[in-house]
């Protein structure tokens, strides 16, 4: 095992986390809990496979994933903002809905309850598994460059200022003329689109959709957001940290040095530590999860 292999594997594992966490930060900073990131990813993964299958081009799959993730997020936004439903309840419902919908359409379109046929992906024939293959995959670039871009949008643009304002103090934001509801809708739908890209990476890299293929990655991304204290760059670093831990576990598992159970716990243990305020204070956006009471 050399350093290049280690870094390449860390990056491969990190890309879906980065995309989901990047989207999730936008939603959470606008005051809407990103509990349904897992669902957006699963929906995105499925739409990417369908798009790529019918168009024969992975790019169409990527567009489909953006649409699919965005639609699920819109449903979440309508329920939580328009109808003031409890965000935690709706968030979980969206995840279950994504599981059910993908399975239903998998059956309808491909006549299988388990996986889709092989679809075109981005990989270059014979490019191996190192950085060359990674560099050829645009979703890797979007994942890596996306985090600083989201940080820039959040801290350096008027839209970002509005997002942060409606997440901290919506009443104050409204009093200076910020269209609170519209800003929130945009932030949530954007989060679904970006997280959908994370799902697209999974299914296009695998060249097929398989039932439940996100396997909890959306929750790891949510853990990264919290561990990164709702800051895009820190959340991105947390994603890389979690991915590195997973790589380490994969590399060391053969030697039985660390029980794999412990490594699987790392993201969640770190999240609890962050929330307990042991490493600096993790303060969520003040209005997070409170769209019901406004």
């Amino acid at each position: 095992m050399n350093a290049v292999d280690f870094l390449a594997q860390t990056l491969r594992i990190a890309v879906p986390y980065l995309l989901a966490a990047g989207g999730g930060v936008l939603s959470e900073r606008a005051g809407l809990i990103g509990l349904s990131l897992e669902g957006y990813m699963l929906g995105g993964a499925f739409c990417a496979a369908v798009g790529s299958y019918y168009a024969g081009a992975p790019w169409i799959g990527v567009v489909a994933a953006i649409v699919g993730g965005g639609l699920l997020a819109l449903l979440y936004a309508v329920s939580a903002i328009r109808y003031k439903a409890d965000q935690v309840v709706v968030g979980i419902a969206i995840n279950l809905l994504a599981i059910g919908l993908t399975r239903f359409f998998l059956r309808l379109i491909f006549d299988s309850s388990s996986n889709s046929p092989r679809v075109p992906g981005f990989d270059l024939k014979g490019s191996g598994t190192g950085f060359l293959a990674l560099a050829h995959n645009p979703l890797v670039w979007i994942g890596v460059v996306g985090i600083p871009v989201i940080a820039w949008v959040l801290y350096r643009t008027p839209f970002g200022l509005r997002v942060r304002a409606v997440g901290e103090h919506p009443a104050a934001a409204a009093s200076v003329g910020v269209p609170v509801v519209r800003v929130r809708y945009i932030a949530v739908v954007l989060s679904g689109m970006i997280a959908g890209l994370g799902g697209a990476y999974l299914s296009l890299d695998q060249h097929q959709f398989t039932d439940g293929m996100t396997a909890g990655r959306g929750f790891i991304a949510l853990a990264a957001i919290i561990f990164g204290r709702w800051d895009p760059m820190r959340a991105g670093l947390a994603c890389l940290l979690f991915a590195a831990a997973e790589t380490l576990q994969i590399q060391l598992q053969g030697t039985q040095a660390i029980p794999s159970q412990f490594v699987e716990m790392i993201p969640y243990v770190l999240t609890i530590i962050a929330l307990a305020g042991i490493v600096g204070r993790a303060r969520p956006p003040a209005a997070l999860g409170r769209t019901t009471s406004e």
């Binding site: 095992m1 292999d5 594997q9 491969r12 594992i13 879906p16 279950l96 599981i99 059910g100 399975r103 059956r107 491909f110 006549d111 299988s112 309850s113 388990s114 996986n115 990989d123 191996g128 598994t129 293959a133 999974l202 890299d205 695998q206 060249h207 097929q208 398989t210 039932d211 439940g212 293929m213 396997a215 909890g216 990655r217 997973e246 790589t247 994969i250 590399q251 598992q253 053969g254 794999s260 159970q261 699987e264």
Partner: protein
């Protein structure tokens, strides 16, 4: 207010009227002579190209050859599993089959509640008491078990003989005793033909999700291939699709599981360790049809043609004749009891 009252009254009337309507075509009650069989699939469901499909094929054959009627239930999430079995049992099916180890507790419970219904569990995991003695399933429950370690032993020998690199790989799904059977048999098979070979064994996780994580499977396989492994055997459900993807990318080989998985990655699937779930399901239905069904533990091994490895026109050119001869000799040894394959860690 008056509108509301009228609405309630109308709804009540409709509700009352519907009580007297018998839906046509739905749920024909089981009749006395024909044998009715209900099957509940595991996660993955139909189209998994694995044991669910195997059970389906066996049941279809029973429908054609034995003239039985089969109903399939495909549960959504885990909570519906028990409900699916219960529904079939309550409808008075002659035989209710649960496909997958996950049904073990539900089947045991229902077999006690419905002593006149017959049950069968594919991969039913038999419990042991404190002294290590096997706890027999209820008398109306047939545990259909496979000697996966025997089939895994043979593909282990193939992996070592074809791989030629002193290192062979194993990727398991969830880290628990059923999958350890595959791993231990495989490792023993490797050692039987190559005592100084190293077996790198890895698992995708510790929860049932580990059977549905192709992304993880791919990364595990890539790291093994990078360490010099040339052949990987997976026992990990759709996580194994990631192993095949890694084989495609690196140009190396993988071994499928449960069903013939050649089509998942033609040219990269050396062989598959097949579990003849279809035979086991067909047998169980046949025993009910012929009225000599009995509960207990049924073991399907190499001798019963319950497990095996794939050798056909697709992969014959990947397995040299000498390897084939050697593996067939090992198979004869196992069937004759000259080799005892370990199944636990």
């Amino acid at each position: 207010m008056r509108k509301l009252l009228i609405l309630v009254a109308v709804l009540t009337a409709v509700h009352g009227a519907l009580l007297f309507v018998h839906p046509s075509g739905a749920a024909v009650p089981p009749t006395g002579d024909a044998v009715d069989v209900g099957i509940v699939f595991d996660l993955g469901g139909r189209g998994d190209k694995s044991f669910n499909d195997g059970a389906y094929i066996g049941a279809e054959r029973a429908e054609k050859e034995l003239g039985v009627r089969v109903r399939f239930v495909e549960p959504g999430e885990s909570a519906d599993r028990e409900a699916g079995l219960r529904l079939l049992a309550a409808e008075g099916m002659d035989l209710v089959i649960g496909v997958g180890f996950i049904f073990t507790d539900d089947l045991t419970q229902l077999a006690r509640e419905y002593p006149n219904t017959r049950f069968a569990g594919v991969d039913y995991s038999v419990a042991q008491d404190k002294d290590g003695k096997v706890i027999q399933p209820p008398p109306n429950l047939a545990a259909l078990k496979f000697r996966e370690e025997q089939g895994s032993f043979l593909v282990g020998a193939i992996a070592a003989l074809v791989g030629k690199s002193k290192k062979v790989g194993f990727v398991g799904g969830m880290n628990f005793p059923l999958i350890h059977k595959f791993e231990m048999g495989y490792a023993a098979g490797v050692k039987s033909v190559c005592p100084d070979c190293e077996v790198i064994s890895q698992y995708a996780g510790v929860t049932p999700e580990a059977f549905r994580n192709p992304g993880k499977g791919k990364e595990l396989a890539l790291s093994q291939y990078q360490q010099g492994v040339n052949v990987i055997f997976h026992a990990s459900g759709s996580t194994g699709l990631g192993v095949f993807e890694a084989a495609r990318q690196t140009g190396k080989l993988a071994i499928g599981v449960d069903a013939d998985q050649f089509k998942e990655a033609p040219g990269y699937v050396l062989t598959s360790m097949v579990k003849r779930v279809d035979n086991a399901v067909f047998d169980a239905i046949k025993r009910v049809k012929e009225r000599h069904f009995a509960g207990g533990i049924y073991q399907y091994g190499l001798a019963e043609d319950g497990v095996g490895y794939v050798y056909d026109a697709n992969n014959a050119k990947m397995i040299p004749a000498a390897v084939r001869t050697r593996v067939e000799a090992l198979k004869a040894d196992i069937v004759a009891g000259r080799i005892n394959v370990p199944s636990t860690k």
